[in-house]
Symmetry: C2
Subunit: 350 residues, 2 copies
């Protein structure tokens, strides 16, 4: 339901730093964007963190959850034994209509499992997938899947493409998103078996399919949606973040090596700051988990305050734009979503 | 055989630009490094290109090859029908002892096929793999495989690790290379099935195995060898190149937007140039194909003059260091190379 005051359920216990990072990040978002926060987790820890900040005028509710999910917990065990964990409770708030979206920096397998089990999938979607917005030389590109599925089938890749196509249209406002499959050569027939079969499905679809794209094409801005398996996408995402960070550090090191370059740096500081923002992944913050009947934004475990801030902003924007409603409507009407799957099952049944 | 005047067979017809880029790139390397060039391909085109350059004092031989391999040619067809192609002839020169190494920017599937068929594999190596040196914040890292095998088995990954370990020791001089598997989480048990099984083999081996590493760890310089499947590695390599290039362009765009930042740029130009060199992939040029009984350096199809120059330099360095001889001796003595493979075959036979 679109609203101007989104209620965002934030998994306050998630991430490597828990409430000490998640709470201030969420508060910043609430100050800027006018959303209501439902901070889910251990009330004592959350209240202790809240006491350190100025929360005047903000709409905040603390929702108790007695259990904490660790990075070692298996998704199946969380569903069975940790029903009062912060992520499980946060998803229930959305299911029960008490919140409009969830943000979590916790164990992403747990978030996926709770999202699927508590919120359910959009009809026809086999596998929810994590989408990520990456900066490019021009407009952002959507990379999907960045980690929800490490063994996706070719028609899963196609479903990821369909979902990201809708996302690019509704959230980024792209008219006819240019869709490509991430592979190791542009020509048809390049890639592993999974990619080759997916190519054939995409080619027959209604998507604006450009064919295979290579790693080097992602950042030029000439492609809008890049589809891949969750293993490849996760490696690609983390590699991009790591390389951008390392390049930033190397640049800083070089610029502060001599008096002359230090002086130059002072004069060019505005440009360098804009460059840093262009390539700062914390600006983008979270990855929407597409294919669920509800808005779920997944953050890095290592998220800092700024990244959590961005992720809560993203959840609010999704609510305000009714992004998930539009995704549900576009996919539920969409015969293509399951057509190739049904064709395949029929062929195998013969 | 180590020598101070390596004879490098250069596939002059390879790459998107053919002799117009390959010949001047090779000439630059010959001028700097003192190697003998055997330029293989269409004599008319090669001579026409040579006529444009000053070749005085250089040791150059043109070796005729009447056929050209295209990007569309299948490796099996090249072996059968294109025995007089430039890459096939170049590999034969090494086999016959007339050259010490091959450099090609042509169809890499063809190079792999000719390398395997003409030169043969090192005993015990199942799958030759492409290694790539990537710049990091500290010393270079070896990424293997960057594209020779898109469907590698877990014990293939282990063989890649063993080969890259030897490479890091002999060419980079690393004493006890820290080896990791590229995955989507550091904990054991993270990743796809291929990675999980490989983890177990690496753990039992004599390698200095650090466990799983993530994309973000590649560029910190805290790991020396990163092992992955050729699909993932190729995506990772091209993505790194693309992102570094795009970041460079974005930085340049920002730095030339205002008078003040332009002035700053002039003052910091030395630092910016050093930064560009740190992240310029053409500096690294080629990827050695490990596991063959001979030195083969594979370049990008899109290689520029500088990249070809670097690749011929790399081939010369490999010859001078007897890198392949040391690889052959280290691997031939190495029981581990086939131990896990034999264990597996025995287990399956029961």
């Amino acid at each position: 339901m679109p609203t101007n005051n989104p209620r965002i359920a934030v998994d306050a216990m998630g991430g490597d730093f828990g409430p000490s990072v998640v709470v201030p990040g969420a508060l910043n978002a609430a100050r800027q964007g006018g959303c209501t926060l439902l901070l889910v987790g251990d009330p004592d820890q959350i209240e202790a963190e809240l006491a350190k900040h100025d929360t005047k005028g903000l709409s905040i509710e603390v929702v108790p959850a007695s259990q904490v999910v660790t990075m070692e917990d298996k998704p199946s065990e969380i569903l069975r034994r940790k029903k009062d964990s912060s992520i499980h409770v946060a998803c229930r708030l959305v299911k029960e209509g008490k919140a409009d979206g969830v943000v979590s920096a916790g164990n992403s397998g747990a978030t996926l499992a709770c999202g699927m089990f508590v919120l359910g999938r959009i009809e026809g979607v086999e596998r929810p997938a994590l989408a990520s917005f990456l900066p490019t030389e021009k407009k952002p590109v959507v990379l999907i899947d960045v980690g929800a599925n490490v063994d996706a089938k070719p028609y899963h890749l196609f479903q990821f493409g369909l979902m990201a196509d809708v996302l690019a249209k509704t959230v980024l406002g792209y008219e006819k998103p240019r869709v490509g499959i991430l592979s190791i050569g542009e020509e048809e027939g390049k890639g592993n078996i999974q990619v080759k079969e997916a190519y054939d499905i995409f080619r027959k679809s209604s998507l604006n399919f450009l064919g295979n794209v290579e790693g080097r094409d992602i950042f030029t801005g000439d492609i809008d949606v890049v589809v891949c398996d969750g293993f490849v996408g996760n490696v690609a995402l983390k590699l991009s973040e790591g390389l951008a960070t390392s390049m930033g550090r190397m640049l800083k090191g070089e610029l502060t090596r001599s008096i002359l370059s230090k002086l130059g740096t002072v004069l060019a500081i505005g440009a360098l700051k804009r460059f840093k923002r262009l390539t700062d992944y914390a600006e983008y913050g979270g990855a929407p988990l597409l294919g669920l009947s509800g808005i779920v934004i997944v953050c890095h475990g290592k998220s800092n305050i700024k990244a959590i801030n961005s992720a809560v902003d993203m959840a609010s924007t999704f609510v305000k734009n009714d992004a998930n409603g539009r995704l549900v409507r576009a996919l539920s009407r969409n015969e293509e979503l399951t057509m190739f799957l049904r064709t395949r099952v029929a062929a195998e049944g013969q």
